[in-house]
Symmetry: C2
DNA sequence: CAACCCAATGCAAACGTATTCAAGGCTTTG
DNA sequence: CAAAGCCTTGAATACGTTTGCATTGGGTTG
């Protein structure tokens, strides 16, 4: 005291026990008697003692920290990230803290060498990967993580080989919900806005749900599909192309809320009214969705449950349990952008 | 090789040098000759060697990590955090990474004992505090941090004693910009929505800027001010009270975008049109601001510059430099919610 | 009463790095 | 040619914990 920081030795000295006992007492080890444990913890509290995480981490080879990697679209140079992921982020942070884990957050370019950076350096015990995006461009890195038995979970659509590492919402069901809603409102010519290649497996599943719902309603195959990836500008562009094509349509199912927002702007600019002329439904339920006018009907992904599940799965993996892929049920949030109700 | 993880000893062995030299070479120490440095770094790369952060941190008593603490309003039990701060978060993450620092993110209740948790435990070399909110309720904790010479910076209005730790936008100027814009459009009866007590010093400054702009325009003292704190519901409520009061007004200056959003909803519900009947200007320029209809005219805080400045200041502090309070200039973003232009 | 067991504690050895100090070789200088 | 200086390297230690193993003392059992 006086000189350096308080260590477990200081506490041991005050309590008249060995440093080993202090370490055990603070970790609530059953090896130490209740009385001494109490005494030691009291002294530690009085001295505002904090376990040195570096030392503890070095000795135990564990960091009690999770790393969250958010992939940003390399194509958009502005630093806008999809609000949906920010919502995930805050919920993941809370979930991690509930389990007494720290959370390291990092925004990454997918192209960078982010793999094996975290676990090998003992900075994190596990990694959470987040980001819509071009999965194909980093499957090799995922494969490397897999082969190294790295602890990681990924949000999104499951892929072959990733079953035990993935958590996602039931995109197929989400696609059905949206489409069934539109069909129920009498819409018959629904355009799907979103890329449906394997590069965007989540969008692809949503499209498949859309297709199946159409089929079940006896409306045949989807007529209109236009590519759009992430930012709202892609939604705007897709809608412009849709209008230029001259195809007639009475509804738009956008693969994400941002795409939907871009679509609505384009429709308005073209003099079309939402929902009177065109119904629009989105996907994600981002914060801004309820503030549009009309407010956006959308398929909500429960970010709170998703975060909880990602963290649970990852911690289970760290503890050595294996688990299966988890699919979360999405829910349809009806607002004003489809008609049939006003907000 | 074979047994455990690769350590600096393994590299030393392969390179035919001592572990000390490896450590130096990897940190680009000028003590080691260019040739051996090259050789060692090459071998390290080949083995995918990563310095163990726990060991390095323990030895050097430094973590190369910053902690970001986001304070959430304890009153709102839903986990919605102001989007403005999420924008700050992502920019701070980028700024930290640019300086090769990791970022630990934690959402905290202001009431919790978050002080002295991070530095003492060697988890972070410095702390960034973020959150609109009831400053008064944690001034004692800030005082404790100050007295301990903790490394921390805080976003928001400077307070006595915190000058060297604060980074904020020029809220007074922001208040002026908003009000001058409204006055320039011919508005004369402007209601200010936001609490102006010392508990919310940032809102208070904005109000003072508002007041001064009115005075300079020869419009006398502010007539209408209603309390609102954070979430959009508070803006809705404040507007309801405003309408019930029967006071006549032709503009609203909301102390934050969320408050503005709540205000607009309330106005619409009451059958008032924005901007024809009432002009509305907000503060922050959150993501959703541009998607409202009409899009929200607002005072933008440059979160990218703010993040850069926060990180710079904090790192300077860690390195032992002192600095002065920094004030960032806000800028008025004109959109459709005040009239005089359409979007 | 001896033999044993269990609960509670202490001793000491890691964990992998950064850094101080000493030493080696090689060049320069008087 | 000796002394001094510089550049490069190595040996050894410390950072503060966690944990395997040994130790103690009291209680239990045959």
């Amino acid at each position: 005291m006086g000189s350096g920081k308080t260590t477990s030795f200081d506490i041991a000295h005050r309590a008249g026990v060995s440093q080993a006992t202090v370490s055990r007492a603070l970790r609530n080890s059953p090896l130490v008697s209740p009385e001494t444990r109490e005494r030691i913890q009291r002294i530690a509290r009085e001295l505002n003692y904090q376990v040195d995480r570096s030392a503890a981490g070095l000795r135990s080879q564990t960091s009690h920290t999770l790393a969250l990697l958010l992939f940003e679209d390399a194509t958009t140079d502005n630093s806008q990230i999809n609000p949906f992921f920010l919502s995930m982020l805050s919920n993941i942070s809370r979930a991690a803290h509930r389990r007494k884990f720290d959370l390291l957050v990092s925004f990454q370019q997918m192209s960078k060498d982010w793999h094996y950076e975290y676990e090998a350096s003992n900075r994190a015990d596990g990694i959470i990967l987040l980001g819509y995006g071009d999965y194909v461009s980093y499957t090799d890195k995922l494969a490397k993580l897999l082969s190294e038995n790295a602890h990681f979970v990924i949000w999104g659509a499951t892929q072959p080989g990733l079953e035990t590492h993935a958590v996602g919402c039931d995109n197929h069901l989400g696609g059905r919900l949206a489409t069934e809603h539109l069909v129920g409102l009498g819409r018959r010519h629904i355009a799907f806005l979103g890329e449906t290649t394997d590069r965007f497996p989540e969008f692809k599943r949503r499209f498949e749900g859309h297709r199946d719902a159409l089929a079940e309603a006896g409306l045949g195959e989807p007529e209109l599909q236009l590519d759009a990836q992430g930012p709202e500008t892609s939604g705007f562009e897709a809608t412009r192309r849709l209008l230029e094509s001259g195809a007639s349509f009475d509804a738009i199912f956008a693969a994400s809320d941002l795409i939907a927002i871009g679509a609505i702007r384009c429709l308005n600019k073209a003099g079309l009214r939402v929902p009177q002329d065109v119904s629009v439904v989105g996907f994600d339920d981002i914060h801004a969705a309820r503030y549009l006018s009309p407010a956006l009907t959308t398929v909500r992904q429960d970010t709170s449950a998703a975060a909880e599940m990602l963290v649970n799965k990852l911690l289970g993996m760290i503890e050595g349990n294996s688990s299966s892929a988890e699919l979360l049920p999405p829910s349809l949030i009806v607002r004003g952008s489809c008609g049939g109700r006003d907000t």
